[in-house]
Amino acid sequence: MSGRKYVTTVGVEVHVELATRTKMFCSCLNAPQGVAPNLATCPVCLGLPGSLPVINREAVRLGIVAALALNCAVNPRIWFERKNYVYPDLVKGYQISQIAMPLGERGWLAIIGDDGAEKKVAINRVHLEEDTARLAHSGDNSLIDVNRSGAPLMEIVTDAVLRSGREAEEYVRKLRAILVYNGVSRCRIQRGEMRVEANVSIAPEGAKELGVRSEIKNQAGFNHMRSAVEYEVRRQAGALDAGGTLRQETRGWDDVNQRTFVQRSKEDAHDYRYFPEPDLPPLNIDPAWVAAVEAALPTGYEDYVAGLLGQGLTAADVDALSRNDALGFLRLAASAMGDKTVLFAKRLIKDVFALANSTGVPLDESRLGPSAFRDAALLLENGKIAAEGFRTLLDVLYREGGEAERRAGENQLFVETDAGAVAEAISKVFAENPRLIEDFKNGKIAVRNALLGRTMKAVGKRADPRVVSGLLDQALQHQGRADHDRDTRLPRGKS
């Protein structure tokens, strides 16, 4: 190695599947995982002759949300183009995409750069397009599942401004957190809902032009991407140091051997022959719509995190929420930042993430929604259910979904403090435990907890422990006085 110094330049292209109910251009379900193969299909997403696209408003709205969250300008008049190439997963022989006038342009996202200072990563464009079908390989054949064909995709492209694999990883992690927080996409990497490509080049320090770049396709995770970029930097430097030249090419990442490999060289690069999609008129984006979307945007991701820390959550709490993709969930559950936010956050971390661990189902794949969670937490808070009942309720909601109130009722979780029943239970416990009563009278206050436990057991978990506790204390006081006036009547609790 000559030890020459190189400057690394990385640009990142990210594709995410948008969290809509239906596909980009047809009303088939956008739930490729949840439908049997080829049953979320229609003439449009099968590419049958005569079928025509109609744009999904919600996909455009989510695109605007993403553009705004990434500080992009939303173009007032956009259109779609056809991107032409032949592949068996591309049903029409073209993908409806955007090239000349993307939905959003010229944004930025702040990360901590390699020098430790904040760095605004320039975002070149945010555009909408459609996904391809899924190919699986079986022996000599390929199997095509058209369910994913036409799913709404968003592509987010940075300028070539990142300087290392670490910066690229930091950018993608932050991007993912922002998109999930804003409800744009669920970004589950293992399900292909987020796909990352990095363009990597190196040039000698001081050089005016960028070096020859290679494009690394579809890394399976953040750390893969970082490893791939770092490998590629080493490989390119090694080649240049050895006096070689680099070719512009597309490379894949081999995670087993921790190296990149050539997939396609520039010579056989596609000529996509883009031209405006004649089946769709231009789309004028009403500024009033953008303003309304902007007004409805939640607090910015970074402000929200700062707010949580300001409310007394620890950095570890926030990290746990972020790792579980629960920040957006928390924001939806507690609409205003305040005491409830902290309370809900603690409940999420303590009870809900425990469920994620025990069931193996992450929060965003569970049936538990933010409003059901909020309602359940409030039932506990207001004493309508007990702590044990709350845990049971969360478990039910997590597995089966539904509304908190209804599920609590179905599972008989509501506290029903029937004072008569409690009084009966107390009498019974007193009668069965004369020694404890005697001890209590003799000043052994600690036996009260044993009596409470036995009383709770006798009345069952539907009783509110605080009410039982109060009634028990009253009864014990009466016991003390009974020696004097023989009054064994118990007070009547609330009916």
Binding site: T20, R21, T22, C26, S27, C28, L29, A36, P37, N38, L39, A40, T41, C42, P43, L46, L48, V54, I55, N56, R57, E58, A59, V60, W79, V86, Y87, P88, L135, A136, H137, S138, G139, D140, N141, S142, L143, I144, D145, V146, G252, Q263, R264, D268, D271, P276, L280, P281, P282, L283, N284
Partner: protein
């Protein structure tokens, strides 16, 4: 000739549409004469004309995000050609791997 048989064959390869050498040569001649004719358009000054301008149909409609009906396996089998394989519930083709 503005376009020769070799370029025609390069295009047909990209389009995955087989042409014989004779077809390619004939097509090169036909295409060249059409391309030559299209040069007529250079008589017109189109500077400043917005190709995306429209007098009518200037706004794409937006669809509500509401699921509609999808097709069933009998529909897919009935498309004809036998490409849909009921056993795997998939369209079956010869294997394709990264090109």
């Amino acid at each position: 000739m503005i376009i020769d048989a070799q370029e025609v064959l390069r295009l047909s390869e990209m389009l995955r549409m087989a042409l014989t050498q004779a077809e390619a040569e004939r097509m090169a001649g036909d295409m060249s004469s059409v391309i030559d004719y299209v040069g007529l358009l250079n008589e017109l000054d189109v500077s400043g004309v917005d190709a995306m301008g429209r007098a009518i149909l200037d706004q794409a409609p937006l669809r509500d995000d509401v699921p509609g009906p999808s097709l069933g396996y009998p529909d897919l089998e009935a498309l004809g050609g036998g490409a849909f394989d009921p056993a795997t519930a998939a369209f079956l083709v010869q294997g394709v791997f990264a090109d």
